[in-house]
Symmetry: C2
Subunit: 157 residues, 2 copies
DNA sequence: CAGCATCCGTGCGGATACTG
DNA sequence: CAGTATCCGCACGGATGCTG
């Protein structure tokens, strides 16, 4: 936290220099667009909708487990530590419903079911890679930021 | 859902051709790495940790609202539709703690507080842009997939 | 093997009222 | 203006037991 005794107006000048423009400008435009679209009745934000769906605890982990090759139910279960069978079933269904994975039933005895990434699921992983790399790079930075924040908070009482 | 009456083994051949390799291969490697690291006691997955933090209902929206320029508390409130003051305060605190935004208090009467994106927050938006563009592109595809899935489910009973 | 059904605890986030 | 404090519903997800 930064405390200043200058007037609030001071900050306007600082910000007008547009830090390193293009990315912020693009997101600013996107957000303005988002604000307009959100006024339309019945409008569903694509980002919200899809991230609500794949942003749960297990979806991306399951998608990644299928990146190398298709796996059967029990193989996915072994691949993803600590997931319950209930959540595995549920998440696989949700991913299939969204078209991220396909489900192939083989009429063997006992039955075996194979799940594989679709083109859509593959394109999602592709689009996530930049973000995943960012989290790997930034995690130490965030951990330090948290420690500093918590320390200052304790000091303040 | 695809039903086959071939043997399960048939699929192994199909998959060995590695669809369009590099992205899947990279994620397969990343996932294998993730599996190994998850065995270490006390290990925290960076992606899980950071996405848990910024993957909530409001964080990314707030970050985007600050992309154009710093805003004061009430301005953020107006910019983000339907957020409660409670969640705004809470989310701003969380983002500040993680170092995504900085908080600047101006000693005016009544007090005014300004929030602005940090370099880290900016880099997050940057890394998210590919994913956001993907959601915009893919939303129609997913909606169609869902309709087909639900239709087949209804037909099956 | 690949699920489904049921019960249940926890935490996210909304609503409301109050303060320096 | 910029928060805090309290109450509370509800959905996410864990645990367990059962089936074709």
């Amino acid at each position: 936290m930064v405390v200043s005794h200058n007037e609030a107006e001071k900050s306007a000048e600082v910000t007008s220099k547009e830090p390193h423009g293009s990315v912020r400008a693009r997101f600013a435009a996107y957000f303005a667009d988002w604000q307009r679209r959100s006024l339309v009745e019945g409008w569903v934000c694509p980002t919200r909708d899809l991230l609500d769906s794949i942003g749960d605890t297990w979806s991306t982990l399951i998608l990644m487990s299928l990146a190398a090759k298709p796996l059967r139910f029990s193989a996915v279960w072994r691949a993803v530590p600590d997931i319950s069978k209930r959540m595995l079933t549920q998440t696989l269904r949700s991913l299939e419903r969204d078209g991220m994975i396909s489900r192939h039933v083989f009429a063997t005895k006992p039955p075996s079911v194979e799940y594989r990434l679709t083109e859509l699921g593959d394109s999602l992983l592709e689009s996530m890679s930049a973000l995943v790399e960012w989290t790997e790079r930034s995690h130490p930075v965030v951990l330090r930021a948290r420690m500093r924040f918590d320390a200052l908070e304790d000091a303040a009482g």
